[in-house]
Assembly symmetry: C2
Homo-oligomer: 456 residues x 2
C-alpha cells in the first residue's frame, strides 16, 4: 500500500502538467535535427585541439585559445563578443619528466610519469630515494615518521572499478593526488608518486592539480601510469630495497594576465537577465583537451549558433562563456561572478558542460525547490533523446554564481570512457564523436530555450 | 483524466510485483562488480582482434577464430565445449580495389572504395564508364534505361543524421547496398558505387553484403567512403561527363566447411532446457571485427565465466554460441536451429549481442505476452545500471529459434558510434572500452540469471 500512497501525488502531479505544447516540441525537434545534421562545432573543436594543444592556464597556447574562440564568436554576428580579463597562475612543466627504479635484483627500469600540476620540481639533479607504497592517506599515520622520512611515498589506491559512475570513483581516490604531497611531507617524505586517476590500464600518466599548504614543505609529486603503478608495486614486492629516481623540472612563474571569452545574444524581453552556458578553455598541457573541456566550450558556442540558425529569439540574454583556469586556480569562474556582482547583473540560470563530449544521459539541476519542480517537468521534452532531468547540478566555473541564488545545472554524459582521457596525452580530438558531442549541444540548447520560454 | 485512467493499472501492477528479493539483488550486484573489476573478456577480445583480423566467413582467419574460441572455452572447465559443423560461402576480396575518375576538366582523382561482399569482380582490366548519381532505387525508374545503360550508378543517399537511433537510419539507407546492384542492372547499368553506410564523414569505405537475383546480370558493386562520395558528387557537378574507373578482383569460391563454436554449463535442474547467449564470430575482412562482433562473442563467453567465477549454478543449461557466417549467408544461425530441431532440444530463452560493445542502454525482448510481462518486471534490477527493458528483441543468428516459440532478446547499446566502425577497417580493438563491454556482459549475465531463477 505504501507504493499506492507514493504514486497518488505523482499521478496528480502528472495531470497538472498537461500536455506539452506542440510548437515547443517542434522547436526542440528542430534544435536536435539541426545539431545532428551539422559539423560546425565538431570542426571547431578539431581546430581548437590541433592548434592550441597543451593550453594550460597562463600559457601562450591558452592565449591562442582565447584568440581562437574570440574570433570564432566574432564571426557569428552575435550581439556582443568580448574578453573578460583575469589574472591566472602560470606553471610550467619544463623538460619531460624522467623516472626509473634501480635495484640490485631487478636492474634499472623506467616508469611513465608526469609532474602533478603546481608541483615543485626536483631540479635537474633529480630526487633519489627508497619507496613506501600505501593505499590511503591514513596509512601515513600507521607507518609513522620513522618509516616515511626521506622516502618517496607511492600512493597506489586504484579508482574503484565497481562504481558505475566513474566520477564517484574518481572522488573516492582523488585525495591521494590533491592532498598526498601535503600529508606525506608532514611525515618527512621527500617526494610523492601517485597512481594515475583513471579506470584504464595503460601507460598514460594522468596529471591534475595538487595542493600545498603554509608551514608544510613543498615536495615534488608525480603521477605514474596505471601500468607503471602495477609494475612498481610488483617490483617493490620483489625488492623492497629498490630506489626510485624522479626528475621533474617544473616551475611556478607566478601570475599572468589571461581572459574569459564571452559571446552574447541579447534578450528580446529581459536583456538584463542572463543565462550562462559554459565550459573551460584551459586544459592540461599533456593533451589536446578535447573532452576536458574543449567539448564543453564548443557545445556552449554551438548553443548560440543553434539559436541564430533556427531564428530563436530568447527573452533573456544568452551567454556562452569560455572560462579560463578551471584546472589550476579556478580564477575565471571567480572573476566572472565578481564582475557580475560589480555590474549588478541578474543571473537567471547557468549550465556548465565539463564532463566530456560523450553521450548525454542526464541534465542535473540545483535550484530552489519551487523552480526545481518546474524544471523537472521538462523531462517529457528530453525522453525521446534518452536524457533524464535529475536533481543536483553545477560546476567549478559557475559555482560562484550560487550566491546570487542562480539555479546551477550540468550536462551529465555517460562517464565510462571519460577517465581514460582525463588530464592525459590521451585526451585527443579523435576520441570525440560528432553525434555524441551534438546530442549534448542540442540538450543544452533545448533546456535553455525551454527555461527561458516558460520563465522557469 | 486520460492520464489518470492510464496510470491506475500501472499503479496496481507496480504493487503486484512486490519488492525484489535481497539475495537476488546481491547476486546481480556481484555479477556487475566481478565484470567491472575484471579484464579477461577485454584481453580475449584483444587477442581475437589482433590474431584473427579479417576473419570473413570461409577464410583461414575464420578457421583460426574457431580454434581460438574453442581453446578459450576448453580452458574454462565448462561442462561441454564443441564445434558444430556448418557449410558457409567463401568469397574473397582479392587484390586491393582501385577507383578513380578521369575528367578533361578535373584530371585524375582517386576514391577510397571497397567491393561489397559477394560482389562479382570487374577483373584485372577494370570497368570504365560514365556515372549517374541518384538518391534512391526509385530514381532508376525516373531516369530510365536510356540514361542508365552502360553507366555506373552512384547511389548517394546518406544515412539520415537526425535519427537518434542510428540503426533506424541505417535501415533507411541500406537498400542501396543490398539491392542496388540488382535494380541498377535491370536498367542496364555496368556497375554500382554506393555511399558508405556510416554517420561518420571520413575516408573509410564500409562494405557489407549485397544480393543478386536469378535472371538479372551480376554487376560489380563497391562502397565508397563518405568523403569520397561527397567529392564525387561535387566532381559530377563540375563535370557530368567524367568517367569512373573501378577495378575489383573479388571471387566467389563456393562453399567450404566451417563451424559454430559452443560452450555449455549444464543445468542443475532442467539440463535439457537451453538458454543461448551468442554473438557472431565471422567479421568483414577489412577490419578486426572488434565491435562487429568480437564484442558480442567475448561477452557471451564472459557470461559463462561470470557464472563459474561467482559459483552461480543455473537450473537450465547455459550455452555461449559463437555463430559463424552472420555477415554473408547466415548459415550458422540456420544450422544451430536445424540441429536443435533434429535433436529435439528445448530452447527456453535466447539473447544475441550484435550491436557493438558499447554502453548498454536497454535489453529488448520479444516473447509471448504472458512471459514478456514477467520479464519486464525485471527492470528494477537493471535501473541502477541505466538499463531499460523494452519490447522487441532478437538477432540474425537466434532468429531461426523463433519457430520454437523461444523468447528472443538483444542487448541494445548506445548506437551513436557504432556505424563509425561497422564493416570497415576502422572496426578495431582500440575502439572498445572495457567498462562498456563489461557493462554489457554483466547485463546479459544478470538477465540470464534472473530469467532462469524465476522461471520467466
Amino acid at each position: 500500500m505504501k507504493r499506492i500512497q507514493l504514486l497518488v501525488p505523482i499521478l496528480l502531479f502528472c495531470c497538472a502538467i498537461g500536455i506539452a505544447q506542440e510548437a515547443e516540441k517542434k522547436t526542440v525537434t528542430s534544435i536536435y535535427n539541426e545539431a545532428l545534421g551539422d559539423r560546425t562545432a565538431y570542426e571547431n573543436l578539431r581546430q581548437l585541439c590541433k592548434t592550441t594543444k597543451g593550453r594550460i592556464t597562463g600559457s601562450t597556447k591558452a592565449d591562442e585559445a582565447v584568440e581562437f574562440t574570440y574570433r570564432l564568436m566574432a564571426a557569428m554576428h552575435l550581439d556582443s563578443v568580448y574578453k573578460q580579463p583575469v589574472m591566472v597562475p602560470r606553471w610550467e612543466r619544463g623538460k619531460k619528466e624522467s623516472a626509473f627504479i634501480r635495484s640490485a635484483r631487478l636492474g634499472k627500469k623506467g616508469l611513465a610519469v608526469a609532474a602533478l600540476g603546481m608541483s615543485v620540481g626536483t631540479g635537474s639533479g633529480g630526487l633519489k630515494a627508497g619507496v613506501v607504497e600505501i593505499g590511503s592517506l591514513s596509512d601515513l599515520e600507521k607507518l609513522g615518521m620513522e618509516q616515511i622520512r626521506g622516502k618517496i611515498v607511492f600512493f597506489n589506491r586504484p579508482m574503484d572499478p565497481a562504481m558505475v559512475n566513474t566520477f564517484a570513483s574518481y572522488g573516492g581516490a582523488a585525495d591521494q593526488r590533491t592532498l598526498g604531497a601535503i600529508e606525506a611531507a608532514k611525515f618527512g617524505a621527500s617526494g610523492v608518486m601517485v597512481r594515475s586517476l583513471t579506470t584504464a590500464l595503460d601507460d598514460f600518466p594522468h596529471t591534475g592539480v595538487l595542493r600545498y599548504t603554509e608551514g608544510v614543505p613543498k615536495i615534488p609529486a608525480v603521477a605514474v601510469s596505471t601500468m607503471g603503478a602495477d609494475l612498481l608495486s610488483q617490483w617493490l614486492q620483489d625488492d623492497p630495497e629498490l630506489s626510485l629516481f624522479i626528475r621533474t623540472e617544473c616551475h611556478d612563474h607566478g601570475e599572468v594576465g589571461s581572459a574569459n571569452v564571452i559571446g552574447e545574444i541579447k534578450g528580446s524581453l529581459y536583456p538584463d537577465q542572463i543565462i550562462t552556458v559554459g565550459g573551460h578553455l584551459d586544459a592540461w598541457d599533456l593533451g589536446e583537451g578535447a573532452h576536458d573541456d574543449g567539448a564543453g566550450c564548443m557545445q556552449s558556442i554551438e548553443v548560440l549558433r543553434l539559436f541564430k540558425e533556427l531564428g530563436i529569439r530568447p527573452k533573456r540574454t544568452i551567454r556562452a562563456v569560455m572560462f579560463m583556469d578551471e584546472e589550476v586556480a579556478q580564477r575565471g569562474g571567480a572573476e566572472y561572478a565578481r564582475q557580475a556582482e560589480l555590474n549588478g547583473e541578474k543571473h537567471y540560470f547557468a549550465l556548465e558542460s565539463d564532463r566530456g563530449g560523450l553521450l548525454p544521459l542526464a541534465i542535473g539541476i540545483s535550484a530552489p525547490a519551487e523552480r526545481l519542480v518546474k524544471m523537472m517537468e521538462l523531462k517529457r521534452y528530453f525522453e525521446p533523446y534518452g536524457i533524464r532531468i535529475t536533481e543536483g547540478g553545477g560546476g567549478v566555473d559557475i559555482g560562484p554564481l550560487k550566491k546570487f541564488g542562480t539555479p546551477l545545472s550540468s550536462l551529465i554524459p555517460d562517464s565510462q570512457r571519460y577517465f581514460d582521457y582525463h588530464h592525459s596525452a590521451n585526451d585527443t580530438f579523435d576520441k570525440v564523436n560528432n553525434r555524441e558531442l551534438q546530442l549534448g549541444s542540442a540538450a543544452i540548447a533545448a533546456l535553455v530555450y525551454l527555461v527561458d520560454l516558460y520563465d522557469l
